[in-house]
Amino acid sequence: MEEYHSGDEVSFNPDEASNVVKECIEGIIGGVDYSQNKVNQWTASIVEHSLTQLVKQGKPFKYIVNCAVMQKSGAGLHTANSCYWDTTTDGSCTVRWENRTMYCVVSVFAVAIAL
């Protein structure tokens, strides 16, 4: 109860989250080529594993993990996010990853829980 707060306000650590997500991506699509029939499975695994790892950190946050995988074929892809939250405690991080045949963009949004 008291020991959880320990008087400090917890804020989101984007570097830590970024590392967690990178490991998840590498572990799931690290050495593979784009495959249409496997993509759904990959994106689902990436978001689930990332979420599980983030929740394991035990911090008082709600999380949203978003993953987009795109085949490298010359098309233009653009993404944007905007957020309406408490800037002192909430935060996000985005990890961009690629290999020879695909791009992967994972965004994590963390919103503090008022306990």
């Binding site: 990332s50 949203i64 944007a80 905007s82 909430d90 919103v111």
Partner: protein, 113 residues
């Protein structure tokens, strides 16, 4: 009486938000073709206008708005989201829109304060 009102104000209403977002996307890129030079402006416009309209609803929510724009070029795009939140009050909705040259996908996540 009071309970009903507060329930309406504090849960995420998908239909209302879908309508708001569709209007924003239509008014921003409704009749346009994919143009690399205008994309940044379109995207900023979509996410900012969406957020403004959502906050105008006056509900006790934090919002995250995500927008993806993809040129129609034959490439495959797959997206997934997973969320760790309070199922009774929080929610999300995704609006997919397209025209002859553009795919646009806007996701809104609302988290109760």
């Amino acid at each position: 009486m009071d309970e009903d009102q507060s329930a309406e104000e504090t849960t995420f209403v998908v239909d209302e938000i879908t309508t708001v977002i569709k209007e924003v996307v239509e008014s921003t890129i409704g009749n346009s073709s994919y143009q690399h030079s205008k994309i940044n402006q379109w995207m900023s416009n979509i996410v900012e206008s969406s957020l403004n309209q959502l906050t105008k609803l006056g509900k006790p929510f934090k919002y995250i708005v995500t927008c993806i724009i993809l040129q129609k070029n034959g490439a495959g795009l797959h997206t997934a989201s997973s969320c760790f939140w309070d199922n009774t009050t929080d929610g999300s909705c995704t609006v997919r829109w397209e025209n002859k040259t553009i795919y646009c996908s806007v996701s809104v996540f609302g988290l109760a304060i």
